[in-house]
Structure formats: C-alpha cells, structure tokens
Symmetry: C2
Subunit: 254 residues, 2 copies
C-alpha cells in the first residue's frame, strides 16, 4: 500500500489501526468453545452486529455513490459497497452454518445503527467520505481488538471481513485534495469528525448496556483470558488514539 | 430454475426472454472485426451503454433496498445490486483492455438513463420491484438480441453480463404475493408496467437517434449480416411480446 508522510514526517498510511501489542494465546476452535452457552451467545451477538453493520455500510456507501462528483468516484463507491455486501454474505453464511437465524441475530443491532446514521446524516459528498472512512476505521479497530480473544474460527472470519475494502486510501486522497483546494473545508470536517466519534461512542455504550452477552464477552464474563475492565479501558484508549492519528493524517484536528 | 404456470396453464418461469429463432453464424473475433472503425465505434457505444446501465442498476437496487420491508428482502436487493456492480466491473475492464476510456464511453448514456429514472421514480417497494424486473428484462432481451450478431468476444461478454442476477424470480414471488393479499394492487401495477415500457421505448429511440454508431449497428450499416430495418422491427416486436408475457406471468394486464 502507498504510504504518505504526516505533517511531522512520520510515514503514515491511510489504514492506521490500533492493535493490542500482546495478542493472547489461542483459546481453541469454535467446536470446543461454543459448548459454553454464554460464549456462544456472545459470539452470535458479535457476528450479528458485524453482519448488520456490513449491510448498513453497503446502504450508506451506495447512497453516497449518488452524490459522487463523477463516474470514476461513483464506480469507486459502488465497488466498496459491493465489497461490504460480500462481507455480509460471509457472515450470513457462517451464522447459518452454526445454526443461528441471521435475521434474529441482527435485529437487536438495527435500531442502534440506524440511530447512529440518523444522527450523522452527511450533508454532502465530503462529509459522506469522512464518515465512511472514520466509521469504518473505528469499527475495524474494535473488531480486530476483540477478534484476537475469540476462538480460532471466529477470529479468522472477523479478521477477514474487517479487511480494508479500499475505503481508506480513496477517502484520504479525496479529502486531502478538497482541503488543499479550500482550507476552510478542514475546519468544517474536523468538527464533523468529532461529532462522528461522539455518536459512535454513545451508540456503542447503548449496545453494551443492552446486550448482556456482548458485554460479558468484553469484560471477561465468558471466561476469556485477561479481558477485564482495565483492558477494556485500554482498548478504548487505543481506538481513540488511532482515531486521533487518522484525523491528523487527513490534516484535521481531532 | 423453478417454473410457474401462467393462467392458461403454459409453464412459464420468471425469466421469459425473447431470443431470435435463427442466430446468424459467427462473424469472427474482435481482433479481426475491430479493424473496421465503424464497427469498433458501434461496439464501444454498446458496451458504454451497458456499463452505465449496470452502474445505474446498482444504484437503483441499492436505493430500493432501503425501502425493503425486512432484513431478508433488504439483503436480497443488496445481493442483486452487488451482482450488477460485478457486471459493471467486467465491462469496465474490457473497455480498458481494448484501449477505450470507460468514462468517455459511458458519458453519452448518463443523461438518457437518468431521464428514464427521473420519469419512473417508484413511489413504493412494489413499484420498485416491478421496475427492476421489467427494466432488467427489457434490457436483457435487447442485449441478447444484439449479442448474437456481434464478434465472438463481445458476444460472450454481453451474454455473460446479461445473465440473470436473481432479480426475476424474487420480484415475481413478491409481486404475486402482494396481488394475492390485495387484488387492487394489480391494477395499479399494470398501469405502472405500461408506463415503464413507454418510457423505456422513448429513451431508447432518443439514444438511437443521437448515436450514429449504435444505430448503424442496429440497421446493418456496420456490415452486419442481415440486420436490416425489417429485422429491427421484428426484434422490437419480440421484445414487446416477451414483455407482455412477463406482465401476464405477474398477473398483470399489459
């Protein structure tokens, strides 16, 4: 991947991510772990949230494609949307494979995600790009952090669907061009980035509060190694720091 | 594919198509034929129209997905949209392969297609389904009719991207269910189907009038075997008849 230098000269590519420095050892495969009903419920919650997130990302990217300033940008957004759909399909198929009903598993996450989208409807092409970039990156960071603590099969799936769909570099390039052409755009988009992060945190807290299985997974209730409240705090710090670095890479103050 | 019986008892599946009864013999590969600049221009026009049509179909299906009554329907529409995008990608890559600029080749068809979509904006989920089904089928019929007269390479590509993306049976099932639940829906959708066919013909005539290369291809100006005005008339008859049969299969008078 092409890398770009940040203002301080540090090489910085578009897909800055936060990854826990010491991934814990494998906890075994799905076949073994899923015998624990709490663990199973937690993983289904996680996959349901991820699946609806992909379907929702498909919709938002397709919507943004309508506002693309030209055919090249329109096709680029359509491609990303199509990739998100492929990820959805992988998650859907896995849910069926483990005997879950994809619709039932996704349903609890529809309203929180739609609330996030209602609160953060982009007013133009650039706000849409920043939202796609920032939103996707925060979600990817979160899933990668959680993935390393899951059984091997679930981890591989989550990492696979969290892979970069080409969003990042595309958005960074377009946003930087727009700020170069009109520096005032930077101030507006910086505010927008803060609002996105705030709403994302607010809806995540709501989901964690409402979904016992998922919060047990996060705070170690499902017997996961060393994933206690201190670790959760550290994880959110890493995600916030990665967000700050990404905003800086765009030339935006977070 | 599952087949369903029409009112008169004829077995009828959702993907009724009109295919010329006597496909003409091969006219050779692209390498040979494209030496003729008129032929090359005509094929680029055709691929440009088809490529923008796929991108536009992606957008419309993604838009319709927003109005889906549930997650299963939403995901079904997203899958079809994603398939349309894959077709677009194939056409885009082929245009690049033969040294054409995809954007330049697609641009003449943006306005006619957008005009069609402006004139036929569905007001609800069912109108969107009928539009996707009818619009896709008419376009497929047209391209399959033309394809058999093209060089082997272009023909294979056109037939490949005109393959059913799963639209047909899905739309037929949903529309029939809706008419069964409320027969008055049938009258409204029958009117809608006529309007769609009328607008499609009107925009097609506009394109043919404005694009010399494409109309030469249709009336044999590019030295294609036996594709004269009489044949063109017959082709439009076959397409209209297939449309009538499809509407009947839906339980709608055309």
């Amino acid at each position: 991947m092409e890398t770009q230098a940040a203002d301080d000269g540090t090489p910085l590519d578009a897909s800055v991510t936060s990854v826990a420095s010491d991934p814990p050892a494998s906890i075994g495969g799905w076949d073994v772990r899923s015998a624990d009903p709490d663990y199973r419920a937690a993983v289904l919650d996680l996959l349901g949230a991820l699946a609806y997130g992909e379907l929702s990302a498909f919709e938002r990217l397709a919507e943004d494609a309508k506002f693309a300033p030209g055919l090249v940008d329109k096709a680029a957004l359509a491609k990303m949307a199509s990739n998100e759909y492929q990820h959805y399909q992988q998650l859907h198929d896995r849910l069926v494979e483990v005997g879950a009903d994809p619709t039932a598993v996704m349903t609890p996450f529809v309203e929180p995600l739609e609330a996030f989208h209602r609160m953060t409807a982009p007013s133009d092409w650039l706000e849409g790009l920043v939202k796609a970039y920032v939103g996707d990156a925060i979600a990817t960071d979160f899933y990668r952090e959680v993935a390393v603590r899951l059984d091997d099969d679930t981890r591989d799936l989550v990492l696979s669907v969290s892979s970069d769909t080409g969003h990042a570099q595309f958005a960074v390039d377009r946003i930087r061009q727009a700020i170069e052409a009109d520096p005032r755009v930077g101030g507006r988009l910086a505010l927008w980035g803060r609002r996105l992060m705030g709403e994302a945190l607010s809806q995540s807290q709501r989901v964690v509060a409402e979904r016992d299985a998922l919060s047990n997974l996060l705070v170690g209730g499902a017997d996961l190694q060393g994933f206690d409240l201190v670790e959760v705090g550290k994880m959110f710090n890493r995600i916030t720091e990665a967000h700050t670095r990404r905003m800086a890479a765009l030339g935006l103050a977070s």
